[in-house]
Amino acid sequence: MNIIVVGDGKVGLAIIAQLSREGHDLTVIDSNPNVLENSVEQCDVMVIRGNGASLSVLREAGADNADLLIAATSTDEVNILTCILARRLGTRHTIARVRNPEYAEQLHFLREELGLSMTVNPELDAATEAYRILQFPSFLRRETFAKGRVDLVELRVGADSSLKDISLNQLHKAAPVKALVCAVERGGEVFIPGGEFTLREWDKVYVTAASADLPRLINGLGLDNHKVRSCMIIGGSRIAYYLATMLLKSGVSVKIVESDAARCDELSDLLPNAIIIHGDGNRQRLLLEEGLKETDSLVTLTGMDEQNIFLSLYANHEGVRKVITKVSQNEYYNTIQEMGIGSIICPKALSATRVTRYVRAMANAIGGSVIAMTELADGRVEALEFLATNKTLHLNKPLTEAPIKPNFLIACIIRGGKTVIPQGSDCIKEGDGVIVIASGELAATDLNDIFE
């Protein structure tokens, strides 16, 4: 597809990197030649220097014939203007990055009036992700498929876990829940495990289960099932505001530590029910005084990655049960993850994934059949959702008889709103949603790609 990306900043670059890996024709517009140089060296894209909100530049980029334009500059107004212009020129779909909370509330109005196909807000995405993690604190990460009916969760096998030293075909005895272990990360390597695979301590495990079964899964696996009742947030950024709003609505008490007095005033106006602390979140004394040891969860959201990581390490040391760290550079994701400080969220990567999903859905309308996609284990494994059509091979055949390629795994089948965690005797029927786990190098764009 012909895609134009305006704004080659952090978010823009993350989107470009993902989309260029999928083989789209990308044109990137930015006014800074240095970042453009960088992009052209990293990805196979064409770059145009200039203001994305100017007609001549958009014309030069071919906006009159583009399938999609993504406006991802740091200024909302520029993004919206760019999208309006592109629509007028004839671009079929537009996505704008809109991050101002005041605008965010009017999103629906904006979308319809301006012909926006979608808006992305990295900060809101990050807050939503953090909120979803806090709902089930035993999981490091949660991904939802099939309109929220199926969950793919990531968890670490602890020293006292009932999963430790269990082979996968014995799993149903340890936990009487329908769930499937679909990928295991051990010592930097990723496995798509068979039945003989034995889990060990410190393995990172990806499990699919029906969303309704999640509480039972937690009980069955003997995981920590406490509910988060209080949350401490360091850094009063926009993410903090969004997250606090969500948490307060669900009855969690929120304490925000922010060092800038003016921002504290602003936050206290916006969030009358939260406790706003004016102080330096780096001070150990302040953290202890404000009850770091007693809080259920800590989310570090300052603008400095190093600071966030360090604070999370400290909180982990002090025994805070759930810690979430925000990092804006995800290049060192693996290293940070190996530190074992809990969940990590990266706003730009979350937004890039959301955009990629949208693009896949667009491609789907044209010909492909991937409905949703998620990268696991730093992109080395992908979870893909397909729709089985009458052209799908091996319909109505038990899975044991279908020749599935190695390194592919059918993790879940969704049929008429019900979730089936497949066993050998199950089969794929026309109209089913099928979730497939694939090792990252094997690109599957169609359900039939998984068969020999």
């Binding site: 012909n2 890996r21 024709d25 030649p33 052209v40 990293q42 990805c43 196979d44 770059v47």
Partner: protein, 489 residues
């Protein structure tokens, strides 16, 4: 020096592909050798193809799947290595068949072909057999647009996503590259499509003009690559005037930035016709033609004939081709001086021609003007603009460094070549003719002469000047800088 860098595997694998491509590209010559019944040449070509094929297969088998990333450094090293090795193997048919008895001479001739220089060490071109004449001209065509660009156009992406861009940048002439399409591969395909269509057009017109088929093919290759290997001792002089005219016009066309043709195809008239480089390029040609015509008119029967030969010579020299219809060595000093200057200027960036390139001159002139203004108004801030767009300071710095290196190499080569003891005019113009990929110079190496008399040392120096000129200095310098082979420094 062993391969110490991380991605020697990727480099080797791509080299393997290039060997295979070169072996395949020798097939027409092979066919011609069979047709003409030349057993010695046939054997030489077969051995060369066999060596290339064996190397390609060995590399294919021993290096499975390249991993890791491809950085700018690998791009430069690969391009330099590819050009040196492909020339080294491309020289084998000449050497093995015995038609060029010394390997240094054969290497000189092949490099002269690939770099589209057109300088020859042959004292009698017409003695060479047709298969080798064909191969000699075909190297012009390949070298013109670049053999790696050719590989990019026909082969699926070898490495990761940004990889090809480094290659494109290292091989293509000009201070900066403007991609025509998002995908590098498509960009290469567009360039080669334009190139092939224009070559065919030139070929058709030459045949219509009454040139024999074989001569037309070789001449079309030499014109398209702006190379200049003639297959007759008097270059173009014995062909009908119409054919000479066709060659003159097409040389100018192949000296235009190929992006212009893409803009024309896309109906972006403004981008095409208002290009500052194009206008300056055509302006320089027009004014040189007028001045020289006036200067030499007394040597010819009438003004029209003078114009005909001057137009051909200016077009040939400015586009660094090197075909000749008249011996401009016999012209007055002013005309020879203008031609020598045009040799250094060269044609447009993004074309098949050599030289400094008109766009670099334009940037230099404009940035000099800016510095002048800064002397009057020390606090003034002004950006250098070309086609009404600001040129990045980094590009300007690159142009400055390029000119510095250019002069340094010119001086050093001139000194070494002077050891041979020929006249100053011969030595200087020989270096200029090779370094700018023109072919003939002045004096002993004028259109009627050749390079046979130089010592092997001078030939090697001139060979590398040709490569330096075609690859625009940096890839080769980086290649010979041992530090770039280390991983850490």
């Amino acid at each position: 020096m062993a391969f110490h860098i991380m991605n020697s595997k990727i480099i080797l694998r791509i080299l393997g592909n290039l060997f295979l491509i070169e072996a395949l590209l020798l097939i027409p010559s092979l066919g011609l050798a069979v047709y003409d019944n030349k057993p010695l040449v046939l054997r030489a070509i077969l051995i060369t193809m066999l060596i290339l094929a064996v190397l390609a297969v060995v590399i294919r088998i021993s290096i499975k799947k390249p991993e890791g990333t491809f950085y700018a450094r690998e791009g430069f090293l690969l391009v330099a290595l590819a050009w040196v090795l492909l020339s080294a193997f491309g020289a084998l048919p000449f050497y093995l068949s015995g038609e060029i008895p010394h390997y240094v001479d054969a290497f000189f001739e092949t490099v002269s072909g690939f770099t589209t220089t057109g300088s020859s060490i042959l004292t009698n071109v017409e003695a060479m057999s047709r298969p080798l004449l064909y191969w000699r001209s075909f190297t012009h065509w390949l070298g013109g647009m670049g053999i790696l660009v050719f590989m990019m156009a026909v082969m699926p992406n070898v490495g990761g996503s940004g990889d090809f861009f480094h290659l494109l940048r290292a091989e293509s002439p000009g201070p900066s590259i403007e991609k025509l399409t998002p995908k590098t591969q498509r960009h290469s395909m567009i360039l080669y499509s334009i190139y092939i269509v224009m070559t065919l057009l030139c070929l058709a017109l030459l045949i219509i003009g009454g040139m024999p088929l074989f001569d037309s093919i070789c001449t079309a290759f030499g014109t398209a690559g702006t190379g200049g290997f003639g297959i007759k001792a008097d270059s173009m002089a014995s062909y009908p005037p119409f054919c000479q005219g066709v060659v003159a016009v097409f040389m100018i066309l192949f000296g235009v930035n190929f992006n212009i043709y893409f803009f024309l195809l896309m109906r972006r008239w403004k981008d095409a016709f208002f290009d500052e480089e194009l206008r300056l390029y055509l302006g320089l040609i027009a004014s040189s033609v007028i001045i020289i015509t006036i200067n030499v008119s007394h040597l010819f029967k009438n003004v029209f004939e003078a114009f005909h030969h001057v137009f051909f010579s200016v077009s040939s020299v400015m586009t660094t081709t090197g075909f000749a219809t008249a011996d401009f060595n016999q012209w007055p000093e002013l005309s020879r001086a203008i031609l020598l200057i045009l040799m250094v200027f060269g044609a447009s960036a993004g074309s098949t021609a050599g030289g400094i390139k008109v766009i670099r001159l334009l940037m230099m002139a404009k940035s000099t003007g800016r510095e002048m203004q800064r002397m009057l108004h020390p606090r003034s801030v002004r950006s250098v603009r070309i086609n009404n767009r600001p040129v990045g300071e980094q590009v300007l710095r690159g142009v400055n460094v390029y000119i510095n290196c250019y002069l340094a190499i010119l001086v050093v080569s001139f000194l070494i070549v002077s050891i041979d003891g020929f006249s100053l005019e011969t030595n200087l113009s020989a270096v200029i003719a090779c370094f700018n990929n023109i072919g003939p110079g002045l004096g002993m190496v004028g259109p009627a002469g050749n390079f046979a008399a130089f010592s092997p040392l001078s030939k090697i120096v001139l060979t590398f000047d040709m490569l330096l000129g075609r690859l625009e200095i940096f890839p080769l310098i980086i290649f010979f800088n041992l530090r770039s082979w280390n991983r850490v420094t």
